[in-house]
């Protein structure tokens, strides 16, 4: 949030104090069916049509504006996907380490990993993003080689921190849920604790970890639009720029942002459905 937005009059309720929390899982929420996707699409088209009917005939219709700018907007969307995937990959790798660290026999390591997890799980993603943007320099020097760190890389790191913490918690929960008798059986077959973890416990955890991990990925994808606030040229930033370039016509607002919504929906919805399928299948087994 920029300082401009927070200048509210003294007696108005402060919106930043309203309770707000991103739930780590969307279990149990009503799920959208494919028919909803069609309805949303039709609604968007209708909206675009009526908006155009009221507009000046010399101007491009909202649909034409979207078609004209679609390559640029989709390029921005691809950037959102790229950021989400890299953040997820980094966060998953780090989260696996931190999650296993929490389960370590070494009490110091376990404490540190636990603290890391708690801290990053309970911090607003946007605040973490700001911290990374302002704390990490624009370039780093490794062995005399200057590596520039563009804003989008920093933003990606910013998103990977909450991913790390959430993955760590997913890993810890899954490992704990494997009965201790599995450890005993492996122990009596002369497996080392490390072999037991990697050969026997973690493979059993994959099934349990996959649905929450995919939920997390959906959340990350949707959260990447927050990078627009720190100036990364992702889809939301480009949408605002396109709107300005088209003269800021009010009737373009809904179609343009509707297009962004639609893209995210089309991407996240199948992931959500697939997650639900996996959850159902694993519960039966």
């Amino acid at each position: 949030m920029s300082t401009k937005n927070t200048q509210t009059s003294a007696d108005a309720p402060l919106p930043v104090l309203l309770p707000f929390r991103i739930e780590p899982t969307r279990l149990g929420t009503p799920r959208l069916a494919p028919v909803h996707a069609v309805l949303i699409g039709a609604g968007l088209a209708l909206l675009a049509g009526t908006a155009w009917a009221q507009a000046d005939a010399a101007q491009l219709s909202p649909l034409d504006v979207i078609i004209k700018w679609a390559p640029l907007l989709l390029y921005g969307f691809a950037f959102n996907i790229l950021i989400s995937m890299i953040a997820m990959a980094l966060g998953t790798g780090a989260g696996l380490g931190v999650g296993l660290g929490m389960l370590s026999e070494n009490p110091l390591l376990a404490r540190v990993c636990w603290a890391l997890t708690q801290f990053f799980r309970n911090a607003p993603w946007l605040v973490l993003l700001f911290f990374v943007m302002f704390l990490v320099p624009f370039q780093i020097t490794v062995f005399g080689v200057r590596i520039p760190l563009p804003d989008w890389v920093k933003a990606t790191v910013g998103f990977s921190l909450p991913v790390m913490a959430n993955v760590a918690e997913i890993v810890r929960g899954a490992v704990r849920s494997v009965p201790s008798t599995q450890w005993e059986a492996a122990e009596s077959l002369a497996f080392t604790p490390r072999q037991t973890m990697w050969q026997i416990i973690l493979p059993q955890c994959v099934k349990r970890m996959l649905p929450p991990w995919m939920n997390l990925y959906s959340l990350v994808t949707m959260a990447t639009v927050q990078a627009s606030i720190v100036g990364v040229s992702e889809m939301l930033t480009l949408t605002a720029q396109v709107h300005t370039a088209e003269g800021g016509r009010p009737e373009l607002f809904a179609p343009l942002y509707g297009f962004a919504l639609f893209c995210f929906f089309l991407y996240c919805y199948p992931i959500d459905r697939f997650t639900a399928r996996l959850e159902r299948r694993f519960h039966i087994r």
């Binding site: 008798t181 005993e184 492996a186 009596s188 077959l189 002369a190 497996f191 050969q199 026997i200």
Partner: protein, 255 residues
């Protein structure tokens, strides 16, 4: 007592397992209050006794799943309670089968049998597979190699668990109430497998409630109550003429 660092080389005429005054406490609860016995190579030992008398704890001390509080346990003259003990070396000699089978559910029956020799002993995969298939045949589960544990009955799972243990070629097998979770039909299959093992000369320590099996197969019976061995003897005298009133009461309830 043997010096921990320099065990006497073990020869088959010596006891293969030797317990000397073993004590074990969980916090303030003393579960084993001085247990001593010897097992000779090839012997079948049955441990019977009421629930909570410390049978599982006793058997788990032998492969160091549970550390003892005091006393000595020698397995082929290796001191189990030695803090410098190479636990993995010990567990390669001692196989264990549990009441709840504890198979690895994400692996097929054959993979369950093959895992430890491949990952722990680093043996050749082809040779291990050959041996694993032979073991599946031995426990009469040919055709079930590619089934997952969830697809097998309790008795079949328990026989896979036995094969999994045998794949490590142990010198001693520990069985902790391995038929207690099975329905009567499948109990027979598992007992048959164990009986065959015993006849092949495997040293077996069983905790069991199957009195008829104990009578038929065991060389020696130990009756435990409240963490001590109350009475022991060969099955003939143990079952026909128990001397201690606690043994008589227990036997009157289970026979």
């Amino acid at each position: 007592m043997a010096a921990a660092t320099d065990p006497r080389p073990w020869t088959p005429d010596q006891p293969i397992v030797q317990l000397i005054d073993v004590h074990k406490s969980f916090g303030t609860l003393e579960v084993l209050k001085g247990v001593s016995f010897d097992v000779k190579k090839g012997e079948v030992i049955c441990i019977i006794g009421p629930s909570g008398s410390g049978k599982s704890t006793l058997i788990r001390c032998i492969n160091a799943l549970v550390p003892v509080t005091s006393g000595t346990i020698l397995v082929e003259n290796i001191e189990v309670a030695d803090p410098k003990l190479d636990k993995l070396a010990l567990r390669r000699k001692v196989g264990m089968v549990f009441q709840q089978y504890n198979l690895f559910p994400h692996k097929t029956a054959l993979q369950n049998v093959m895992m430890a020799p491949i990952h722990v002993l680093h043996q050749d995969k082809g040779e291990v597979e050959e041996r694993a298939r032979a073991l599946m045949k031995k426990v009469r589960l040919t055709g079930k190699e590619d089934s997952y544990p969830g697809e097998l009955s309790g008795g079949q799972q328990q026989r896979v668990a036995i094969a999994r243990s045998l794949a490590m070629r142990p010198d001693i097998m520990l069985f902790d109430e391995v038929t207690a979770a099975l329905d009567p039909e499948t109990v027979k299959e598992v007992l048959f497998t164990i009986r065959e093992l015993a006849e092949d000369g495997m040293t077996c320590l069983l905790v069991t409630h199957e009195m008829n099996f104990a009578r038929d197969v065991a060389d020696h019976i130990y009756f435990t109550d409240h963490g001590v061995i109350v009475e022991h003897g060969p099955p003939a005298s143990f079952f026909s003429a128990p001397s201690d009133p606690r043994t008589r009461e227990f036997l009157s309830q289970v026979l």
